[in-house]
């Protein structure tokens, strides 16, 4: 019997390279204006799934990502590393969701896929740093959760053993399966893309992407090969209560966004010179800051 792992991965704006048009007037993020990357801890999560696939024959890894059409990149990136297939949850009506509305939609997609043994995600995404979607998805699916995982030590049908990395130590826990595990950044880094898999999957496309390909030959080739299909899920495909999705389904509202303004203290600027530093240290000793 196959062992099915669902990995939740997110395409995130690279928050280290933020331009001025990064925020929209309603206070949500204008993702289109930013370089997009695979959320780092989701890569750690994918690696844990791949390590299980190395050990358990007949393991299937399914990626779920939610976002705009270009988030299909995340699924391709995962396939290049040996994930089997993926679903892109994409619909303008899902936009503006906070973690509660997001986890609701993701849990509905997971229910639709069904028959899973294990769900793995990164602990948190670098654009929000909330670490909430994992536990909230687990709650919606009524599954046990293991957060802050550093290593999945053993995993078999119905049972998992995980090492957790906490602030001041470690815990080794066992759980029944299915369960949801969130992976900490201290876990093994993800393996690189495999060149054979890259060649195999580089034409994997969603329906939406297929429509933009003019070349009939390529179009037909992709259509005929089911492993090149990335499934798209919209609101119409999921059994969602429209009141629980998007901005409407999000209890948290952004009241306001302030740009970061430095209060501008009157700093004393000194150079890296012996006399200046000698003077500074003398001041600090005299006013009893030091010593």
């Amino acid at each position: 019997m196959a062992f099915r792992i669902i990995v939740l991965a997110k395409q995130v704006p690279d928050t280290r390279n933020v331009g001025e048009d990064a925020m929209k007037s309603d206070g949500t993020v204008n993702r289109a204006a930013l370089p997009a990357i695979y959320n780092p801890e989701d890569l750690n999560a994918l690696e844990q799934a791949l390590q299980i696939k190395d050990r358990i024959l007949d393991t299937e890894i399914i990626i779920i990502t939610m976002g705009p059409p270009r988030a299909a990149d995340i699924i391709r990136e995962s396939m290049y590393r040996d994930a089997d297939r993926g679903y892109l949850i994409t619909d303008k009506r899902f936009a503006g969701a906070d973690t509660l509305a997001t986890s609701y939609v993701i849990s509905k997609a997971i229910e639709k896929i069904g028959n899973y043994d294990l769900i793995i995600s990164g602990r948190q995404a670098i654009d929000g740093d909330t670490a909430q979607v994992g536990p909230q998805t687990a709650e919606k699916l009524n599954l046990p959760q293991i957060t802050y995982a550093e290593e999945i030590i053993t995993c078999e049908k119905g049972k998992i053993k995980v090492k957790r990395r906490l602030e001041r130590g470690i815990e080794i826990v066992e759980s029944t399966l299915p369960a949801l595990v969130t992976v900490h950044g201290s876990a093994d880094p993800c393996r690189p893309k495999n060149s054979k898999l890259f060649m195999k999957y580089k034409h994997a496309k969603t329906q939406t992407e297929l429509q933009t390909i003019d070349d009939d030959y390529i179009n037909q080739t992709i259509k005929n090969k089911s492993y090149l299909h990335i499934d798209e899920l919209s609101l119409d495909d999921l059994d969602c209560d429209p009141e629980k999705i998007g901005l409407l389904g999000s209890p948290t509202k952004v009241k306001k966004i302030d740009n970061v303004v430095l209060q501008g203290k009157d700093s004393k600027v000194i150079a890296d010179k012996d006399a200046d530093i000698k003077h500074l240290m003398n001041d600090l000793i005299k006013n009893h800051t030091l010593g």
Partner: protein, 339 residues
């Protein structure tokens, strides 16, 4: 009146600092809202929990003592805590942003279908008008946090759903004693009925929790290093300066992510918040998340090769230069003049 509820994290019978800090903050917010503060202690062997919590001014302590509730595991704690929230209907729930709190709070927020904001750096009471409906809400909790890689500060509100939930990192709020001889009312809750129904799916097999080696919050002098330190070896120089002046070494997230320093030393929004007498920032550019964790320092000295580094604008003294050259001079002249 609906109260403010604080979840108390308890390790080996001791209530953690972050929980006591949150009780202190809750007492202040409760003063504005004219409500009370309820502390929730869930664990095993909680005999002296009242002595630990009541000095900080929680009006009510819900004490839930059961062998099955220590150490913390998600499902039993969330079942018990959720039950207390459903029965007492607090308007605000505060939880420490620790590996426990960040495991527990989202699970509960999901079940209660309420809003939750992680890692707040400030909590303020204020009004809110919905921009679409024009509906006005009085006395909401403003949950303030840097967002989006620290490029902005967001104020979040939960107008429609209760409770309003937030997590806060250790050291962000100040731990303060309430009036002398303050007495809490203790409400003992028998959890057996709830726990009998709980799924104990996750079992702890091994647990190694170390005593805290690094005491950043208690240190009056902090020498902190950023990405500009350049290497693990570079931190040796900071260690030396800290040793000489009797301080503790801290680090920015960038330095921790780069492996130059350990996570326990991380200062900032996702690390600890410190307020020392003197903060020496070495090779730290000063992103908002870092400044959120140290801008309450009495004096700040920055050492940076970049005169435009944001850290310089909040520093009392900005030394423009390479830390590898500046720090040895500081050590030398401190030693020379402190005799």
């Amino acid at each position: 009146m609906n109260n403010i509820c604080v979840y108390c994290e308890i390790e080996e019978g001791k209530v953690s600092d972050v929980s006591l800090e949150l009780i202190s903050k809750a007492v202040k917010l409760a003063g504005e809202l004219k409500c009370e503060v309820e502390a929730v202690a869930i664990g095993s062997g909680l005999n002296n929990i009242e002595q630990q919590i009541s000095p900080y001014g929680a009006n009510i302590i819900h004490s839930v003592d059961d062998k099955r509730l220590y150490p913390y595991t998600t499902l039993p704690h969330s079942a018990v805590f959720e039950n207390i929230i459903r029965e007492n209907k607090p308007q605000i729930v505060l939880v420490g942003a620790t590996s426990v709190g960040r495991d527990l709070a989202p699970r509960i927020a999901s079940s209660l279908k309420c809003g939750l904001t992680a890692d707040c750096t400030d909590l303020v009471i204020g009004d809110y008008t919905d921009p679409k409906s024009g509906h006005e809400y009085k006395n909401l909790l403003y949950q303030i946090r840097p967002a989006f890689g620290g490029n902005i500060i967001a104020t979040i509100v939960n107008p429609e759903t209760k409770p309003q939930m937030a997590t806060v990192r250790e050291g962000v709020m100040k731990k303060e004693h309430a009036a002398k001889n303050f007495k809490s009312t203790v409400n003992i809750i028998d959890p057996s009925e709830i726990l009998d129904k709980v799924d104990f799916a996750v079992k702890i097999i091994e647990r190694h929790i170390e005593q805290r080696k690094v005491n950043l919050t208690g240190s009056q002098i902090i020498v902190a290093g950023g990405f500009g330190v350049g290497s693990k070896e570079g931190f040796e120089l900071l260690n030396e300066l800290a040793k000489v002046v009797g301080g503790e070494v801290g680090a920015s997230r960038a330095a921790v992510d780069a492996g130059y320093s350990e996570h326990a030393r991380q200062i900032g929004q996702t690390g600890v918040t410190v307020r020392p007498k003197l903060y020496i920032a070495c090779g730290i550019s000063g992103a908002i998340q870092h400044r959120a964790g140290m801008d309450g320092s009495a004096q700040i000295i920055s050492i940076n090769t970049d005169p435009e580094a944001p850290i310089n604008s909040i520093a009392d003294v900005a030394i423009i230069g390479d830390l590898h050259s500046v720090i040895p001079k500081m050590i030398k002249y401190y030693k020379e003049q402190s005799k």
